[in-house]
Amino acid sequence: MIIGFSWLGCGRDTEEAQELAMQMPDEWFELNGYLKIGDNGIVTIYSPNPEIGQNVKTSMPMLVAEELDVDWNNVIVEQAPLNTAIFTRQLAGGSQSIRQGWESLRMAGATARQMLLTAAAAQWEVPVSELSVEKGVISHSGSDRTMGYGEIAKAAVEVEVPEEVELKENSDFKIIGTSRKNVDAKQIVTGQPLYGLDIQRDGMLIAMIVQPPAFGMEFKNMDAEKAKGMPGIKDVFTIDTYPEDMEKEWSDTGAFSKLVVVVGDSTWQVMQAKKALKVEWDLNPEMVKQVEILEKSPALADSGGLENSDIHNNLMAEVGSKKSEMVRKDGDPEAAFKNAARVLERSYSCPYLAHNCMEPMNFFANVTGGKAELIGPIQTPEFAEKSIQKRLGIDLENIDIQMTRMGGGFGRRLYGHFVIEAAVISQKMGAPIKLVYTREDDMTNGVYRPAYYVTYRAALDGNNNLTAFHVNAGGMSESPLFANRFPAGTIDNYLAESWMVESNISIGAFRAPRSNFIAGAEQSFLDELAEEMGKDPIEFRLDLLKRAKNDPVGENNDYDAARFAGVLELVREKSGWNNGNSSQSRGVSAYYCHNSYVAQVLDLTVKNNEPIIDKVVCAVDCGIVVNPDAAINMVEGGTIDGIGHALYSQLTFEEGKTKQSNFDSYRLIRHSEAPKQIDVHFIDNGIDPTGLGEPPYPPVIGALANALYKATGKRIYKQPFISELQGEFKT
């Protein structure tokens, strides 16, 4: 039914094993929804969650294979379709796939193993307790009999599913904790079809959208005559993705609901027809009204709700931050600030960011005959299915959603408006279509990382003791505050405040939402505060964490002080922090998010007014590391991603339009700008695994800012750092 998203024998450890995996069984036996076993012992494991590059398509099946006790070389991995009857939380987000799948995936493997053993025991007429398994081969301890899973799988299907099974002790793991190659790697390096954009289907048409040129505008009318007459063009029309009466899911966030659609035979033909369209746009009265609450900005009112970045920056600094609301208060911060000998106050900000997944938004839809077949890159298939049901009035049982490997997610593909768009277009055309965004459509029709702004204040008494801490954070149009995270719980007098400013610009989750800004700001401020107090920055943080561990302030501190201190101590050791060499300038930072702890030390030098990042040492506590080499890859990537966006990237607005629309104007980090070396060290504590896709990203921004200060003598408060730094380096 679908194009080959599964592939055989990929990512095997040896050519021989690959050959073996290619030997397809005559018959498959499905023991549960997660796996099936072939009569020759080959095992297929379904990976439930969407793969966005975080490598769950390898690491989730590893958990099943571990408890099933099979040879990884005999495992074929297939991407599961959306199936809420079998799987829970088929979602890529919040760095939660492994953490939340930890038990269910191992249970699936252990349950099947138990059924296979029960069937073998019955056949041999021996107690199950006399059987053991190694790499899919069952042995009987009382005799020399052995039997492969393939020989007993048929009988095992008939065994009653056990209600309770025992899971392995960590010390018995054979697959978990060993490095296994990406199961899709071979197809990736040979260019096989894997991604949504790669889908081909007989009779499939290509659809593209034309959207309002600015946030705050909407469709008025169009002259499509010329475009309709162009070669290969089938139709031009408008769609309303989300009619007013539709009850939306949280994932139904998109920049524009009403869109012009061009449908034709091939991508290039549709691209040309888009250019030939004459569309008139108007100010969207509803959106203008929304912005009118910003009455303190006459400039914005004059622009009719078409926002620009100067106004955003002014609004955040002058309006938003003065209307904050208290979220947490410990002790008497007002009195402490009043009685302070010295107060350090600093404000930090960052711009909007576009996700810029390398694979632009797209989706395949075939909505014909009362059924919807949807294939493509989506982080939230379950929500997309519900929205399709509501939008098209098709029963859930007639909606089939298949997930392709995604050319990046980063949070962008949580927002499945493009799935709805594709379905609506296919329904209207009565034909299978592939909706394709151009890079420009993708970048200018975003669900962006918000622009944020935060002010920190610290009070010091006459003896240089930290007596009060105040954080006041907000943004367009979401606050990045985490009131109960470090350093909450470490200071007697603490105040956390939050605010937001409304905007027409659509925002959403971007890798490590909110943390991706607040971590860098906070860790820069703590660095400056440590310096002000004459303390070593690592020692300063460890002193605070000692307080949080031994005598915490307040009750809702949502981090583990000992684990937090653990990564700081590890990074201090591994980076040789106290050895004090160096022609390089170094900065340190540590942060907790997505249930994991990361500390980084970054070394850089400055040449020809450009920062050269020589080395980043990372210490990570994410509990048990399922697939070590892949985990290192993830930490390396998150580190580079954090550095790149903080240093180089920004999305700015003028009259409601993004000033950047492609990679000639939007700067992303490139090869020559990446760190020359990244060392990754994990804490080995045997704790159940926690998140890894996001945690390495936020803290490195603080380490970068602090190292840049060491190199230049200048503190940086505003992202992207390169704009602040250019021409101001000491060389």
Binding site: K186, T190, Q272, M406, N633, E636
Partner: protein, 154 residues
Amino acid sequence: MAEYNITVNGKNLTVDADPSTPLLWVIRDHLKLVGTKYGCGISQCGACTVHLNGNAVRSCQIPISSVTDNKVTTIEGLSENGDHPVQKAWLEHDVPQCGYCQAGQIMTASAFLKSNPNPSDKEIETAMNGNICRCGTYTRIKAAVKTASKSQIV
């Protein structure tokens, strides 16, 4: 529309396309070879990199009308069994995260190593700078290029 005879991965093919159609879309839409990726359409990201007579070029910038008798190689044609030294090095270092840009990275790297079999780190960075990896696999890409360069048979 016009007919063009082109040579792709050693095969002589005829395509019917508008003369302005970029080679990228001919490869993807007409020939159904989807390993060559669309990333930006303006030669800024390198995802669409193919070889033209062995040189790395951005297929999004080459109209089909100008391909003429130049030999096109896509990622699918880089090696018979996916065993080009650069592909093998990519597997050895388990480079990909999302993987979308990697075909372009491999095509740039393989053409580069042909012209410079023993590059310095700096030369690798310069050669690869036109290929964006949004996931940040740059350190692994560099390591893989070095491994491939040592295999001496590029």
